[in-house]
Each structure stands twice: as C-alpha cells, then as structure tokens.
Amino acid sequence: MSATTFDEAPAVGRPIRRRERWGNPVTYFIALLFITVCLAPVLYIVLGGFRSNSQITTSPAGFPSPWRFDNYLGVLTSSTFWQEIGNSTIAGVSTTLGVVVLGVMVSFVLARYRFRGRGAMYSLFAAGLMFPMTVAITPLYILVKDLGLMNNLAGVILPQIAFGLPVTVIILVPFLRAIPDEIEEAASIDGASRLGFFFRMVVPLSIPGVVTVGILAFVASWNSYLLPLFILNDQSTFTLPLGVQAFASQYSVDTAKVLAFTSLSMIPALIFFTLFERRIVGGLTGAVKG
C-alpha cells in the first residue's frame, strides 16, 4: 500500500519499499539458504528411510539409490506403530478437550466477573507459567503412582491439562474480555442468565481463541516426552515420542528402519501444523504479547 506513495514521488529517498515485484536477489538467496538449513535434517531423515543400511554406511549423506520402500512398509505394517499413534491421539485429543473446556470456563470467570480474589486467581494461573513440568516431575510421578494411574494414559492427560491451563488463561482472558459489554447487556435484556450468556454467546464468539489454545495444547501433548517417560513404562501404553526412542534403541543397528520410523512419526505433526499454521503462529505470538 505504501508502495504507491513512493511511486508517485520516485525522487525521494532510497527505494526501500518499492521492490514489491521481486525485490533484492540477496534476500532470496539468504532466505533460500536458511530454508535449506532448516529442512536438510528433515530431508535426511525422510530420505534415509528410503535407503538401505549399506547405502547409509558407505555414503552417510547420499541420496537413495536405488530407492527402497521396505523400511517404510515394515513400519507401516507393524502394529506397534499404529498403537502408538493411537495412544498419542487419545492423549492429545483428551488433553485438548480438557484444556479447552476447563480453560474457557475459568477464563470466562476471570474476564467477566468482578469478585474479591479475582486478581489472586489470575496470578495463581499466571504463576503457573513459572512452573515448568520439569520442576514438578518427580512429585507428579509419585502423585500419579499414588492415584494408581501408572501405565495409564489418564496419568499423562490430567497433568498435561493442568500444565496447559496457564497459557490458555493468558490467551483467553483478554479475548473474552474483548467481547463488548453491549452484547452481554442485550442478552440479559432478552432474558438470558449469566450462564445462558456464557453458552449461547461466549462459547461461539470465542471459537477463534479456543482453536488457537486447542492447537497449542494438542501439539504440546503430541510432542511431550518427559511426562510419558516417567508415567508410561509398559510398551503397550507408549505414545509416539517414547515409541521413537524405544524403536531407536531397539534397532540401533538398523539405522534405515529407525529413520523410516522417525519420519513417519513426524508426519501427523507436520500435517497438523500445515493445516493450522496461521493459528499456531498467531497463538504463539499472541501468547507472548499477553
């Protein structure tokens, strides 16, 4: 939009914003270089799965020649892989639902009710940002064990919901506060109670914020490692990250197969990410800006 102003006055200054068409080749070169660096390790993992172990040994950084599909087929036909995908999905979906439902409810209270102790309540959740799971992991492990939830996905899901709440509250409270008072007044004139307003107006209106929060919770759960490492010891309850590591140590000599397993296990996260890229980025930057 600013480019037009400059086009009208070409004599002024340096043409900073004028290269709207293609721009500086140096920029593209650096961008390309950076993207190469970002993607090369990923490509190494994906392509490595199409190679044989002898190919990998003789030329570690080479391309597949010939392409071999048995590694991928082997992983795709193993029940372990699908079971771990299933476990990760269950944990991810449950965590997301829990975080979203509890998060919206408590954020609504924090955003739209006035009561004594509200500030303290908000601080309680905000302070949760200071408690990363790493610090609480040993007592969490003991707590989950005492609750009898060892080797149970619920033992992973509940703490993940709890640790997902601070970010959710931080993102959703400003979001819900931004819903104009007039809407609430109109709803109450029309006879809606506070809770009626919550379910009929707040829930639909907060969908964009909820989606962001939900995606963050899902990706965090999908990638989570430390908590499952402590809680899930039985192979049949492994989530994908644990599965990748177990597979990597079990088949440590079969590099190609490990690479195939690894690259297949990153596909769900990558698909998910490409679909919701804008929301994830928006959510992260939004979270940071409070």
Binding site: S59, L102, L110, Y113, L124, M130, V135, S193, Y225, T255
Partner: protein, 342 residues
C-alpha cells in the same frame, strides 16, 4: 452503565432475576434498603456461578501443578527412596550435598553456557532474518511455514535425527568431507570440547524459527508511516533499521529473550535423548534437569531429586523475577505476569 460507580456492568444487568429469586419485588419496593437483598442475591448467585465455572480448573490446576511443586519442597528435606512416608528428615542436608557436588557445578556451568549462547547465537541471526523476510518478497508465507518446521517437530525426533547425523561416521562428517572441509570433521557427540557446540547447533536449529516468527510478528505491528516518514527525511535503509525498527522491536526481543532463558534453564529432552543420562556428564552437556533425573529417579533418591528440582525452580524464579524487574519493567507486555500482583 458506567454511571453507577459501585456496580459493574455485570451486576446491574442482573437485578430483575436476582430479586425475583430472593423474595419478590414487593419487599424491595416498600423498603428503602432495597438494593441490599438484591445485592446479596446476585452475590450468592454469582458465587455459585464462579464456583461451577472456575472450580474444576482450579481443582485440576492445584492438584497437578501447585500441589506437586509444594510436595517437591517438602520431600526435598528428606532422605527418601520413594516408598512409604518420608521419615528420615535431613533438613537442608540434600541442599548442602547439591551445592557441594562437583557434578552440579558443572551442570550449572553448562546451563549458563546454554543460556548465553542461545541468546548470542539465535538473537542476531533471527533479527537479521526477520528484517530480510519482512520485505515484500514473493513466497513470504511459504517461507514462514518452512522455517517453522523444526520448531514443530518433537524433541525426540530432532534428537534421534541429529544424533544419527552427528555420529563420527554420520552424514555431517561425510558432508564436510565431500565439500572439501574434511579438516572440520569431529567427534561431535563425545568430545567434551565440542559436544556443547553440537548441542548449541541443534538448539539453534530447532528454536530459531520461533524467534524469527516472533520478530516478524513484532515487525508487522510497527506502523508503516514511520518508515515512510523516515525515508522522506532521507534516512538510508540501515539507518531506518537501526533507529526505528530495532528500538520498536525492543519489547518483542526482550520477551523472546525471557522465554529463551527460561527454556535454556529447563532444557532436558534433547540432551537426555542424544546423550542419555550418564554420557551427558562426560560429554559436558548435562543440564540441571538431566542431573535431577539421573540423581533422583534413576538412582532412587527421590528426596534428593526433589531438592534438585527446588534448586532449579528457585534459580529460574530468581532469574525470571530479576529479568522482569529490570528488563521487562518498561514494556506493557510484561503485564501478563506482573501487573496482576499489584
């Protein structure tokens, strides 16, 4: 609405229902003290709603976040193997052991190195990249997606992949050899002088996309008019970046640095996956968190592990508070954590 100073927009939109519930409008009409019972009714009702809506979240949060953290502090005073109630009270004994342990000093040093190098390596590169990508170039959205890929991939996958690539006979050394940089081949993972740099390469690779995306978002919030005004005044591209862009990007940079510092202090997954729990200390990449797991759960000394967790938490908290007090103070964004405490 705002003409009633005492009542919020919320409470005075409710009175009808409130009075009906509590005892009818007649009483209210006859009594000059009408507002009082009305108030009580809404109070009661409001309290009920707050309990129903906020209760579950608070219960889960307290049970699985606050309570365990408190528990860690409690267990930290005991020598305890994780079975039965802790009875062997050792006071600050665990803490004395921690601070006397040479291995813990090393761990602190490693964490310090990781904090500093993360800021020094990622910060400048990410700023330059964000400035470049903020120009109106083609394919900007696809670039944005691609540079974010490493951040989305889980630590386990990153660790496994890089672990394989950095082996002595791995792809990195092979690549260096084939492009004529054979002299730079190294034992990336087990040479104690190099391992921490290998770790820094992996960390930078994984997390720099996050910094770039963050900075890009920050740049986009700077009003276009400022650049136009400056360029009309004859400022060069680099002058504009230095005098306008960077200062206005300040808040974003400071909040990124905060997140980076806290993340570096808690670093666990990557180190644990690549180096395992025992190799990390000989390779010089152990962190407070891997030390905690290796000396706590793995060796069955739960009391000790909890004490380490407490130390780690206090260090993070002290740094976080100091940072907020001295660095973030002037930024509005800091409000997220500090503002409410007033």
């Amino acid at each position: 609405m705002s003409s009633y100073p005492g009542a919020t927009s919320v409470t005075d939109s409710q009175p009808l229902q409130g009075t009906q519930k509590v005892g009818g409008g007649a009483q209210r009409a006859s009594s000059p003290a009408g507002p009082r019972p009305r108030r009580k009714a809404t109070d009661w009702r409001q309290r009920f709603e707050i309990t129903v809506l906020a209760g579950p979240a608070i219960v889960v949060f307290v049970a699985f976040v606050i309570f365990p953290v408190g528990l860690a502090a409690y267990y930290g005073f005991y020598r305890w193997k994780g079975f039965g109630p802790p009875i062997d009270f050792v006071g600050l004994g665990n803490y004395v052991t921690i601070f006397a342990d040479k291995a813990f000093h090393e761990v602190l040093l490693h964490n310090g190195i990781i904090v500093v190098l993360s800021l020094v390596i990622q910060g400048p590169i990410a700023i330059v990249l964000a400035l470049l990508l903020n120009q109106k170039i083609r394919g900007r959205s696809i670039i944005r997606v691609l540079i974010f890929v490493p951040y989305v991939i889980s630590e386990v996958i990153v660790g496994t992949g890089w672990g394989l690539m950095l082996q002595t006979t791995g792809a990195v050394n092979d690549l260096l050899q084939s492009i004529g940089l054979g002299a730079f081949r190294a034992d990336w993972l087990s040479d104690p002088r190099i391992a921490i740099w290998a770790l820094m390469i992996i960390i930078s690779w994984k997390y720099i996309g996050f910094a770039v995306i963050l900075f890009l978002a920050g740049l986009q919030s700077i009003p276009e008019e400022l650049f136009e005004a400056a360029s009309i005044d004859g400022a060069s591209y680099w002058q504009i970046q230095r005098r306008i862009t960077l200062p206005l990007l300040g808040p974003t940079i400071r909040i990124w640095a905060f997140l980076s510092i806290i993340g570096s202090l808690q670093l666990f997954d990557l180190v644990y996956i690549i180096w395992g729990q025992y190799v990390a200390s000989t390779a010089g990449t152990s962190t407070m968190a891997t030390y905690m797991v290796a000396n706590g759960r793995t060796s069955g000394n739960y009391g000790y592990g909890n004490a380490v967790a407490v130390v780690m938490f206090l260090i993070s908290l002290a740094i976080a508070l100091a940072y907020q007090r001295f660095v973030l103070r002037r930024d509005v964004v800091a409000g997220a954590v500090t503002e409410r405490k007033k």
